[in-house]
Amino acid sequence: MRLHEIAHVEDVDRQLIGRVARTALAAGRADSFLLIENDAPSVDPAGYLGILAFGDASVVAGTPIARGLRHLGYLDDGDVVAVDPNGFVRVLYRRASRHNFILVTEQCNSLCLMCSQPPKAIDDSHRLAEHLRLIDLIDPLTEELGITGGEPTLLRDGFLQLIARCRERLPATALHVLTNGRLFFYRTFAEKLGAIAHPDLVLGIPLYSDIDTHHDHIVQASGAFEQTVIGLQNLDRYDVRVEIRVVLHALSIPRLPQLANFIARNFPFASHIALMGLEMFGLVHKNLNQLWIDPADYQQELREAAGILVNAGMNVSIYNHQLCVLDRRLWPLARKSISDWKNVYLPECDGCDALDRCGGFFQSGTRIRSAHIHPLNTSGGRAV
């Protein structure tokens, strides 16, 4: 499923962001693109923000139009797209998806060895207005919305503005922010975020070791550990909910149980702990020799760590692990998390009875994977 394509545009003199209207609207046309599939609109396009056309629709003079679209046929009422003067059409939000997110900036102040979204050193802070506009257009019935990057907090006041706008426009939408949390080392920043009092906000913050130098090495930033752990404390001080995320690879596995203990003793307030299998994206390939470990080879550490956290009464989830290489006793913690457009299975999976429970693989993750993938029978044992 593609989220963008290049179209032929006319009368688009600035970036336009609007909802999609497949069905004619009585009101709210100025915020919406009319979507037409045939050559001629059967509906009067007057008053709409613009037209999105799949065919070669004839142009109504002065109306912004993007035509010749081929890959975005799934668009439906309430979705939000952006159309740029250069013809770039991007899908920013889909009502039918459970995994909408706003990528707030591509800048980052860390450079994790396993970064799946490698940062770019361009100043894209001007795009804040675009994000705020998007929030205005998103359906308030949306259950969950992600805020990601790069590092979203680099926008500082802009970040706070986004959260505040979400509170205002999308009060019923759960907000999940992915951030390294380092800027919350400064108490005032955490205080300001807490003051917004968003009704359902969680910051997902990675912590990869109980040892400062190990964590700093993994994220390639000196001082990151100190900043992150003090940031976590500051966030709790101002009642901002946090989730702690750990990516499992050769550098984080050896002291994983100790990290679990560190989390249980120092951050008992964390609302959730996410233990995540390695995604084969981005910088992982470059650093593979440091990072790769077959998941089948770290089940003992994983079980011990999960046990420590479960004993301590914390909520634990395991993501991105195929069930056949996950210790059976950990299955209750496994979440089928790979998002709706990434799951694939392999020939080795043929005949497996657990396919519907298992998340399978990322498309990118089928080349480098465990050597122990095998089908399971209904009782969870190896299928013949």
Partner: protein, 111 residues
């Protein structure tokens, strides 16, 4: 049974404190001896007590007491700071170099 302790290695108050700890197990009497040494005499409370074991345990306890004194001396200031920080609403730790915020960013966190 008597053991002699060099007061230049184990200060007097350490010796006396350790004697106190052993009071419930046996009778312990310190005596001054010349040349900066002190003698500690052990008398059994019970027939079955081994004075050698008690004296041995006493020596070990003295070693531990000395370790504790080292730890206490080295960590006294930190401990006071920690307890004060724990119970004080304001921030006591040295914030001079980081009394900034996410805008001034004296630590250069934003990179």
């Amino acid at each position: 049974m008597t053991i002699t302790i060099d007061l230049s290695i184990y200060p007097l108050d350490l010796v006396l404190r350790t004697c106190h700890v052993f009071m419930s197990r046996c009778y312990v009497t310190p005596h001054t001896v010349a040349n900066g040494r002190i003698a500690v005499e052990f008398v059994a409370r019970d027939e079955s007590d081994s004075l050698r074991d008690l004296a041995g345990a006493f020596s070990n306890a003295l070693l531990d007491a000395r370790l504790r004194a080292v730890i206490t001396d080295e960590t006294r200031a930190i401990r006071e700071l920690l307890v004060a920080q724990a119970f004080c609403e304001a921030d006591l730790l040295d914030r001079r170099d980081i009394e900034g915020d996410e805008h001034t960013d004296p630590r250069g966190i934003a990179g």
